[in-house]
């Protein structure tokens, strides 16, 4: 994919250049008197994250417009520089270099794929540029980022912790994991084994399988020999489809749970209801009841916002509020030093950057809670809490079960 995308035609190049020029010039409308606050967006506009990137960028552009219309930050306008990471580390690094070296941005916001974030992060902390991301891999916040990184996506530890809580609430006793071979397979199993015994349940075994196989009969046999009453399918859509078929054929009648990105509407569409009925799914959920979410949903023209656009809305809000709180230069270091002063604590709860900036100007303390959730961060840059939505497949559709 990398080599193929390298061959851009002149036409796409021109179109891309025109679009980029248009995009970067947008926030300039309104004119900047004092030097503008320069921020970068780095989203997957193309590649496998391409269905999310455009709306992530729109969310950030909207916040910048709102803030500029309300007078900017400390009297300065916000200027966005937008780049496409192509869901690919190599173009992402080139784009990040341009944002850091040429555009001199204080922060890069909205990287999506874990591989992209892992590649871009060292450039950021070395140049003291702040990085905000929606990537989920546990390893990202373990990088030596010196505080120049936060993420709003729950990591495996947090997600599986909630899943464990949910399973305990279902009163299941014996949980078996069938996991695709991925970086999160083993951490997930460990976390589940930690959390289940607290609620009187236990893990009775696990199998990590090669997701590219066409049949998993023996894996399913192995799972059934452990006599589980709950099977956690921790894979992707293609392998989960086959596993669910084979569990049904093997006569398994216990419960099943899977991640929402694996057991999705497409999977329900491709299997008979009798095979999928009763399966639970877990999806990190934005704060759908919050005013921030509802406002953004209206702007982006959808009732069902994806979590990443909500998180990007919060990224730029957090960055701008941190700069305002710092009252000095708009740099990555200022953001790093001040972001936790406005994201958590006992201040007035706010759900928009404009409102937060007003209160900060009045000398009040604030606690930003955005469209994606509470946005409280640990020292290493992970979020402390995130809501996970649990649903259950019934008759080929998902029904809401609970939010934890």
């Amino acid at each position: 994919m990398l080599t193929r995308s390298a061959h851009l035609s002149r036409r796409t190049l021109l179109a891309g250049a025109a679009a980029a020029a248009a995009a970067t010039s947008l926030p300039r409308v309104g004119g900047a008197q004092a030097a503008a606050i320069r921020l970068g967006t780095l989203n997957p506009l193309t590649g496998s994250g391409g269905s999310y990137g455009p709306s992530m960028r729109k969310a950030m552009e909207w916040v910048a417009q709102e803030v500029n219309a309300a007078g900017g930050v400390l009297g300065r306008q916000v200027q966005l520089f937008s780049e496409d990471d192509q869901t690919n580390p190599e173009p992402a690094v080139r784009a990040a270099r341009k944002l850091i070296d040429v555009d001199k941005v204080a922060a890069i916001m909205g990287t999506w794929a874990s591989a992209v974030t892992t590649a871009v992060a060292p450039l950021c902390w070395e140049s003291k540029t702040f990085l905000t991301t929606v990537s989920g891999s546990d390893t990202i916040t373990q990088l030596p980022h010196q505080g120049y990184l936060i993420r709003t996506q729950p990591n495996t530890h947090l997600q599986i912790g909630k899943l464990g809580e949910f399973l305990v609430s279902l009163k299941v006793k014996r949980v078996f994991t069938l996991a695709a071979q991925t970086p999160f397979a083993v951490p997930s199993q460990k976390r589940l084994a930690e959390i289940l015994p607290k609620g009187g349940a236990e893990t009775v075994g696990s199998v990590i399988y090669d997701k590219d196989k066409t049949t998993f009969r023996s894996e399913v046999d192995q799972a059934l020999r452990a006599k589980p009453d709950m099977i956690y399918l921790n894979g992707y859509t293609p392998d989960c489809t086959i596993l669910m078929k084979e569990l049904f054929k093997a006569g398994y009648t216990g419960a099943k749970v899977a991640q929402g990105y694996a057991v999705n509407a497409k999977l329900l569409g491709s299997l008979p209801n009798e095979v999928t009925d009763g399966t639970y799914t877990a999806t990190p959920s934005p704060s759908v009841e919050s005013a921030g979410y509802k406002r953004l949903a209206k702007v982006l023209g959808t009732d069902d916002l994806d979590p990443y656009s909500c998180q990007c809305h919060d990224h730029i809000s957090l960055v701008l509020l941190a700069i305002a709180h710092g009252k000095g230069e708009a740099t990555g270091t200022t953001i790093k030093d001040h972001v936790r002063n406005i994201s958590q604590g006992n201040g007035v709860k706010v759900d928009s950057a404009v409102e937060g900036l007003k209160l900060l100007a009045q000398g009040k303390a604030i606690n930003y809670e955005g469209a994606s959730g509470p946005c409280d961060f640990t020292e290493s840059g992970d979020i402390l809490d995130c809501k996970i939505k649990f649903e259950q497949a019934q008759g080929g559709k998902f029904k809401f079960v609970k939010l934890i």
Partner: protein, 291 residues
């Protein structure tokens, strides 16, 4: 560590079923090698084409499984003849390696043609999913038994064709010695076209067999090509009974490896089998005579 006998029995049974399904495209792969002397990796996309042709017949046309198999054979076979004439035949004078590389490129193109038409979504055949039959501690699915029957029928047909028909004999003659066959007045080009049709048709049947038991997407063929290649090499590239023996060996070995290996390493069994056979018995278990 003692291993329960019923577990071994189940694994061997699973392996035999998987091996039989693998054998059908493996026969196609080895037949092309026998006649045209190059590993045709574009078999992968023909497995996919067959799977989708069968899917259209079954899901859109409402045809039963056996009819879908016939459609898959014809469509994948025809696609095989066309792609060979247009893409691979002009490459053949440049040597087996060039043609094999061309075949890899061809398979990527064809896979994307399927993706262009059908998208990346998973599709399942419109068949009722039935619970397995259970005997003591061993289970087998009705669909697996049907697949087994279809695969065996296809294999018997291939053997009968090669043994008893004039064209089949001509094919074996070309595989044995193309020059001598030419002297006898056998048209090598015609035999090549026929081999392509039959071999890619079998690949298509393999695609339907895989799809009936699981789901299909544009990568269906790509996922099995390594196992197919391993089966052909283990049995002896160019030997049709060898492909069957190789496929059953790979199928059973992959399953039995689960007794001591984590399932994530199962794919490695195919590689290890290729490595062992090429080191110890380079001509494969049955040697390379076509029949």
């Amino acid at each position: 560590m003692s291993v329960p006998l019923d577990e071994v029995a189940q694994l061997v049974l699973n392996g035999l079923v998987a091996g039989t399904m693998l054998a059908v495209p493996a026969i196609g792969f080895t037949a092309i090698y026998a006649v045209l002397r190059f590993p045709n990796f574009s078999l992968a996309s023909h497995v996919t084409i067959g799977a989708f042709a069968g899917y259209v017949a079954n899901a859109a046309g409402g045809w039963p499984a056996w009819a879908a198999v016939v459609v898959a054979f014809v469509v994948a076979g025809a696609a095989g003849v066309v792609t060979d004439q247009v893409v691979l035949r002009p490459l053949r004078p440049a040597g087996a390696l060039t043609t094999a590389i061309g075949a890899v490129a061809l398979t990527i193109v064809l896979e994307n043609v399927v993706r262009f038409g059908f998208g990346n979504d998973l599709r399942g055949y419109e068949l009722p999913i039935r619970r397995d039959w259970q005997w003591a501690a061993v289970r087998i699915g009705p669909q697996q038994v049907e697949n087994l029957v279809i695969a065996v029928v296809a294999m018997v047909a291939v053997f009968a064709f090669l043994a008893f028909t004039r064209t089949g004999k001509a094919m074996r003659a070309v595989a044995d010695d193309p020059t001598l066959a030419g002297l006898k007045g056998i048209d090598a080009e015609r035999v090549a076209r026929l081999t392509n049709f039959g071999a890619m048709g079998l690949a298509g049947v393999g695609g339907v067999l895989l799809g009936l038991d699981t789901t299909i997407d544009p990568l269906t063929g790509f996922r099995v090509i390594l196992s197919v290649f391993a089966a052909a090499v283990v049995g002896g590239l160019g030997s049709i009974p060898g492909a069957v023996v190789g496929a059953l060996t790979i199928g059973v070995a992959e399953e039995l490896s689960l007794l001591s290996l984590a399932p994530a390493y199962r794919t490695a069994v195919g590689f290890v089998a290729i490595l062992l056979v090429l080191t110890l018995r380079p001509r494969g278990l049955l040697g390379e005579r076509a029949y």
